[in-house]
Amino acid sequence: MSTLPSFPSATVEFNVLHDALHAGDDPKLAAAKAVAAGRGETIEEPTSFTGKSKTDLLRIAKAENVELPDNATVPVIIDAIEQARTAKLVESTGIADAPPSAPPAEIAADVSAPDATTGD
């Protein structure tokens, strides 16, 4: 189960958020993309890692200051780079965990009464 994070006091493009969620993005990343779009920025998709050698990936990780464990495997390096990029984007857009949503409350009024929709 995933929950939408809190947005900052900025413009948020909801359709960008919705599309990103539909494409499988984590909600925080999707929200960060929506805030960036609100600023008029286009978030470039991460460079495709397909076909890159371990040496290439290590070079990218170094250039982006991504810390890696000793003897990191290719999947670990790719995962670390992607997580670092997400964290950077989320931080730069002010996305934060949302406070909890309230549990659903019971409807207390007698809503079956004939006056239920007009307030009479």
């Binding site: 939408l4 413009t11 996305i95």
Partner: protein
Amino acid sequence: MSRKANEIAFALKMQTAPSAYDSPNTTTDLQPISNLQFSIAGVTVANNEYTGSVHRNGDDLAGKTVSGSFNVYLRPPGGADVPAADAFPLGRILKAAKFSEVRTTTAIPAAAAALGVGSDATHAVLGTAAGTTDDLYKGMALILSDIATPLYDRLTAVRHYAGTAKSAELMEVLGAPPAANYQIPKQLSFQRDMTQADAPLLSTKLWLGGVRYDLMDFNVSGHRWSLPVSTRDSATQPMLEVSFTATIYAYADEAAPTVPALGPVPLFKDGKFWVAGKAVGGSSMAVDFGLRVAYPPNPNYTDGSEPGELVESKTTVNMDRKAYLKAQFDTLAMADGQAYYGVFAQWGYTGGRMVQIVVPDARFNYQSPQVGQDFITEQGDMWVDALSRNVCLNFPYF
């Protein structure tokens, strides 16, 4: 020639950095305001030196504070489409009061689609295009095609959204379960920002009878929505009451620009007013955001303080509402129970000219009966806790 009190105009722009004035455009950044109070007050310190007589020297002048307040009519943006990002000047005030401007520029789905299975009078199960993230549509406007005949009455709002079941709990109780189509319409929404980030500052121009004040580090220090019900006996525009503090960046003699007429303000009537799952009668509702701003001391600044920062906000909803029989609407029991209940107001008739106010969860304080007039009414607060998207303002387009 005298300076005239009606020659007032106001323009505002988001300020990109503290203490860096960004000049608003005198045409596109204008925002009509009313009931302006503007104060320039000296900060003084008493001179306690003896003068050898009973006579004392005057105070030393340490600086000045600039503060004030005004009202802004709650007029939707209008037009056929959601305005561009940050193009709605009223939205800038809301952002400075810690709201996110959420633009839904394409309806979701683009064409109304069939509801899923399992809707009831308080829940709409959305269709296949709906997202699976919890809270995704919380506080947003929703169109259900078969709940009313007039288009504007088909609008309702989402109280909670459970992503796994695609179930949208509604802010109202329907006469029958919805069974046709749904759509999240295009809308410009302002959702409460619950992050720890500081609210942004504004740069403004205020023309006051031939003098223009450029106000920097303009901080919304008080914010209240006043929503009086317009009746056959009296009508009042819904409005935002805004208090502010600022610093004078510059000032000069300059005539106020012409503020264009933006048309009538939709009145709070012929709409929906639901509290705790019941359509209620009443004469007014207000949302007070209980803002408190403080100024960090800093001798590097002209007046010894940094620009104001929001340090507290405690939101309450207050209303003057009909008092009902215990069997109909038992506020005493609801206050005893301290459960959460929704508060929902909606009015207007056409897309881009409608207003929705959505408070998904509020708790009752005890409501006090009022017997001074023709009808028995109840007055009292409802508390809005620090929950996700706890107050939302929507301008739907359809």
